[in-house]
């Protein structure tokens, strides 16, 4: 009987969260300690998962299966492949850093950490799900932690609006996918929600063409696809730092991943039919997102829009339906997740100390918080696809895939790199260098916990940039499987 590694990873945060809710509210040490313990255990186990995944063997591994509602064909079915293992690792890393960043939360830490952990369970659950009903179960589980965390601990001026907008927008997106998923369930004739079985189900071309957009776009809303992306900047900016990290760093990947797992893998001919649309929208994401980021004066909005831009590359990678494109998309999900978590964490550190996010009012912060500045610079280099960092090893294959599918996309989207470089350098200079405004002269440096988080995230991005094979071999195996489903056309 194999150790149920995936179930343990998924449920440790849940159990820790429930335990935390039982603690008295004043016992901050217990609360924080439990949260950190759970996060540490989770990151450790996800790392072990990463090391234990057998790339040469490939396929779904660590599979656990238990009947849940047999009469409806629902089972508790967990498993990971080459594409989901990096995402599990990503979630572990971001959760861990999120807990560290939130170490000094003053306001109701008990509820804060409990909800944070519930959110983590949801995310892990989706990545590991091999049953379609179960995937939705975990997917929707995230709704209430997200909402409550944004409105309670978010930026006071916009949190109610941002939180509600984000929640409702994502809810309707997921409901639309659910509609599509139900259609798949009934249409397959196999009376099962098992993804592995549904991959082989063989839907008719008309069915696929009709239902692919429904399922794909429902999930892609969470991935931030244009024009359904407007929840992202408002929601991310309104959220407290740790939630912004998880939302942009992991949740958006949940959407993209589900779009891949459910829409592309189960309805491959539908994907081929609609690929042109996704390519176009993804390109708009990349360029439009970068342009809007450039004109923002709020530090956090810059990052929020840059997330929209970078997810565009993931969508382009998917839509190329090619070996390199899908590889790049898989790598970009990981790389961007780490990068944006780093960005939001540093923005949070700056805001906590300077009490403003207005770029004209910031400056010279390199003096005060050098680690944060360096972290942001590294993140910036990643975001503009600078070689030597994980962003390049992710974006390059996406463009290669674009060359195969639609060369125009490659030519237009590459502008995104230049625009990104421009605004990143400008922001770095304005926020971290130059003169320190008088209000900021007393700003303190970041804490040890913050530094550990930054260090971990930077090391990940540099490590992957220098040694892309750390992930690319694994992702490649998952991609091969997807290609085999597509190749059956």
């Amino acid at each position: 009987m194999q150790f149920p590694l995936l179930s343990v990873i998924i449920f440790i945060p849940l159990l820790a969260g429930l335990a935390i809710l039982l603690f008295p509210a004043e016992r901050r040490e217990w609360i924080r300690g439990t949260a950190l313990g759970a996060a540490s255990l989770t990151i450790l186990l996800s790392f072990i998962l990463y090391l234990s995944y057998d790339s040469p063997v490939a396929g779904y591994q660590f599979v656990e299966e238990l009947p849940w509602v047999p009469s409806l064909g629902i089972s508790y079915h967990m498993g990971v492949d080459g594409i989901s293992v990096p995402l599990v690792l990503l979630a572990g890393i971001v959760l861990f850093c999120g807990v560290l960043i939130s170490w000094n939360v003053e306001e109701r830490p008990r509820e804060f950490f409990a909800f944070l952990l519930f959110l983590a369970t949801s995310v892990f659950g989706v990545f590991c799900s091999l049953d379609l009903f179960q995937l939705f179960f975990f997917f929707e589980l995230a709704v209430f932690p997200k909402y409550l965390m944004i409105i309670n601990w978010g930026y006071p001026k916009t949190r109610e609006y941002g939180g509600m907008k984000l929640t409702l927008y994502l809810f309707i997106g997921s409901m639309i996918s659910l509609l599509g998923a139900l259609a798949i369930y009934f249409g397959s004739g196999a009376h099962t929600f098992d993804l592995m079985a549904l991959e082989k189900a063989g839907f008719s071309i008309e069915f696929q063409r009709m239902w692919f957009p429904v399922v794909f776009f429902g999930f892609a809303v969470l991935g931030g696809i244009f024009p359904f992306h407007s929840w992202a900047p408002d929601g991310h900016v309104a959220a407290p730092t740790a939630i912004s990290m998880i939302l942009a760093g992991v949740e958006m990947k949940v959407g993209a991943f589900a779009a891949l797992r459910v829409a592309i893998m189960l309805l491959p001919q539908g994907a081929q039919y609609w690929a042109w649309l996704i390519l176009g929208l993804g390109t708009v994401n990349v360029v439009y997102g970068a342009l809007i980021a450039m004109v923002q004066t709020d530090f956090k909005y810059v990052i929020g829009f840059s997330s929209v831009s970078h997810m565009g590359l993931v969508l382009i990678g998917f839509a190329t339906l090619s070996k390199e494109g899908l590889l790049g998309a898989g790598m970009q999900m990981f790389s961007h997740g780490v990068m944006t978590a780093l960005f939001f964490s540093i923005v949070g550190m700056v805001y906590d100390r300077a009490h403003t996010r207005d770029i004209p009012k910031l400056g010279g912060l390199f003096q005060k918080m050098p680690w944060a500045a360096i972290g942001f610079i590294v993140g910036g280099l990643v975001s503009m696809g600078m070689p030597g960092f994980s962003g390049f090893v992710a974006e390059f294959p996406v463009f290669m895939g674009a060359w195969r599918a639609a060369p125009w996309v490659a030519i237009i989207a590459i502008l995104g790199i230049l625009i990104t470089a421009a605004y990143i350098f400008l922001v770095i200079r304005r926020v971290f260098f130059g003169e320190t405004p008088s209000e900021l002269l007393r700003v303190e440096d970041i804490t040890v916990m913050d530094k550990i988080a930054i260090g971990l995230l930077v090391a990940t991005m540099v490590g992957l940039g220098v040694f892309p094979s750390l992930l690319s071999t694994m992702v490649q195996t998952g991609v091969n499987h997807v290609l085999s489903l597509l190749g059956g056309a």
């Binding site: 070689p387 090893v393 390059f396 294959p397 060359w403 790199i417 690319s472 490649q476």
Partner: protein, 505 residues
């Protein structure tokens, strides 16, 4: 011995990075520790390079000291490095100039730790470009070198550094976008990034996209490569980033910018454009030659009109690099005509000019830095009669300036002669014009010397200006020696280059 000799290039390439990482752990207050540590750390690659040079076999075709390891297997890109007679001089130049530039930067007072670390990272970036034999890794190192330079200019530069550094990096990155796209396309079409394979397969590969035929696509890709490299060299009219960047950079930065970074562009032409696009290079060689001449003449004229000493030297770089490009263009044209002798001569000239200009430009920028530290002005009109006060400095300046001018007996003459000799048969008109450019070169050099050293002594500097010190002499001396040696006995370098060129054709 095997780990050492089997991985000599990797050692040279990554020792600076390793040193940089180690330096991270020391407290920033120990300024002089960082200076000396960086200097010693940068001397090691230089010594290793000398050893490499001694073991290099000039008569062998192909690349030597090749090391190959899978890097990004999923994209079929490998970490593969090797040297031949073209890249080895560049590596020597780089590993020589970095320690000298570090030594020159001993006068930097603020944030020495960050400065030195950036410098060492910069070295790896540039060496990587020269050593790599994989197209994707070429791009990686190409871009990687930009970031340390950006920060060096932005943090330690002069008054207009923000504008200059941003322009530098955005201009260069923008230019490389085309290169990036072309490399991606090559990878998709041929399925590999290995240069040695591509040299065989790409010139004859059939490639169609968007309904356009092979010649069109190849021409577009050719220009994409050319633009990226042209910006770096720089070739007129893509040169406008250079004067600002060179002028605003700190002394050590300018030395490396002019001494090595510009060569990356020219190297790109030699290593990639000519072998991969022989047909297109020949077809458009005329245009390149024309642009090269424009650079020579206009660069010289612009230099003559400067009142800022450093800016003058910057424009002189444009002027000198023009010769490199002229040589490359001539080689492309001649090779197409199967005139291998001319082509070889032109390539010889180009590569030697790259080396020489590296030495002289670094020297000139250094000397400008020396005088700036003492006078805190770069305005030529504010100098005057300094020879009387600083005779040693004056002599050194004269020597270096004449070396940059191409005085026979010093290195510059040999390389320029070779370029002209190679270009004359194929681009006679252009070469003729280039001679006029040489005339203006002489003019601006002498004018600068006159304004700085001769004439009545400016009362301002009476009695409170220090002579050039020992450290500074140590910096400039190797450059001067090399210039002299190359001028008198070029063979020691030329031989290696020549055989490579001959074997090439």
């Amino acid at each position: 011995m095997a780990p050492y000799s089997g991985h000599l290039l990797t050692l040279i390439l990554f020792l600076p990075t390793l040193a940089a990482l180690l330096l991270l752990f020391f407290p920033a207050r120990w300024a002089s520790f960082f200076r000396w540590a960086a200097l010693i750390a940068s001397l090691v690659p230089f010594l290793l390079t000398l050893s490499l040079w001694l073991q290099f076999v000039p008569d062998q075709t192909g690349f030597q000291f090749v090391e190959k390891v899978d890097w990004y297997a999923a994209l079929r890109s490998t970490y593969v490095v090797g040297v031949d007679g073209i890249s080895l001089p560049m590596i020597i130049l780089t590993t020589l100039l970095i320690p000298l530039a570090i030594l020159a930067s001993f006068s930097i007072k603020e944030r020495v730790k960050a400065f030195m670390i950036l410098f060492l990272l910069l070295e790896t970036g540039m060496l990587g470009v020269f050593m790599t034999l994989d197209l994707l890794m070429f791009f990686v190192f190409w871009e990687v070198g930009l970031v340390p330079m950006y920060f060096l200019i932005a943090q330690w530069g002069s008054s207009n550094r923000n504008y200059a550094s941003l322009k530098f990096i955005l201009y260069t990155m923008g230019g490389s976008l085309g290169l990036l796209l072309a490399i991606q396309m090559i990878g998709v079409v041929t399925g590999t990034f290995d240069m040695q394979t591509l040299f065989q397969t790409w010139p004859t590969a059939k490639v169609t996209f968007l309904g356009l035929g092979t010649p069109t696509i190849k021409a577009i890709a050719f220009w994409a490569f050319v633009v990226a490299f042209a910006i770096k060299v720089p070739i007129w009219p893509f040169h406008t980033w250079l004067p600002d960047a060179h002028t605003e950079a700190p002394t050590g930065g300018s030395m490396i910018l002019a001494g090595v970074l510009l060569k990356l562009g020219a190297y790109g032409f030699l290593r990639l454009v000519l072998p991969l696009y022989p047909v297109e290079s020949a077809r458009y060689a005329g245009i390149l030659a024309g642009l090269a001449v424009a650079a020579i003449i206009l660069g010289a004229l612009a230099a003559w009109g400067q009142t800022d000493f450093k800016r003058l030297v910057a424009y002189s770089s444009i002027n000198h690099m023009g010769f490199v490009v002229l040589g490359i263009a001539a080689a492309a044209w001649a090779a197409n005509l199967k005139d291998t002798t001319t082509a070889a001569i032109a390539v010889n000239g180009a590569v030697l000019q790259m080396f020489n200009h590296g030495l002289s430009a670094a020297g000139m920028f250094f000397l400008v830095g020396v005088i700036y530290e003492r006078t805190h002005t770069r305005n030529l009109t504010e100098y005057g009669g300094l020879y009387a006060r600083l005779p040693i400095y004056g002599s050194i300046l004269v020597f270096t300036a004449l070396g940059s001018l191409g005085l026979p007996g010093l290195g510059g003459f040999v390389s320029e002669f070779l370029v002209v000799r190679g270009a004359w048969p194929v681009f006679s008109f252009a070469t003729g014009l280039a001679m006029i450019g040489l005339f203006f070169t002489g003019a601006y050099v002498l004018k600068a010397l006159k304004q700085v050293l001769h004439g009545p002594v400016n009362k301002h500097w009476q009695g409170n200006i220090a002579e050039i010190n020992l450290r500074e002499i140590v910096v400039i001396a190797p450059l001067m020696v090399l210039m002299l040696v190359i001028g008198l006995w070029p063979t020691f370098l030329l031989d290696m280059i020549n055989r490579a060129a001959m074997l090439w054709y």
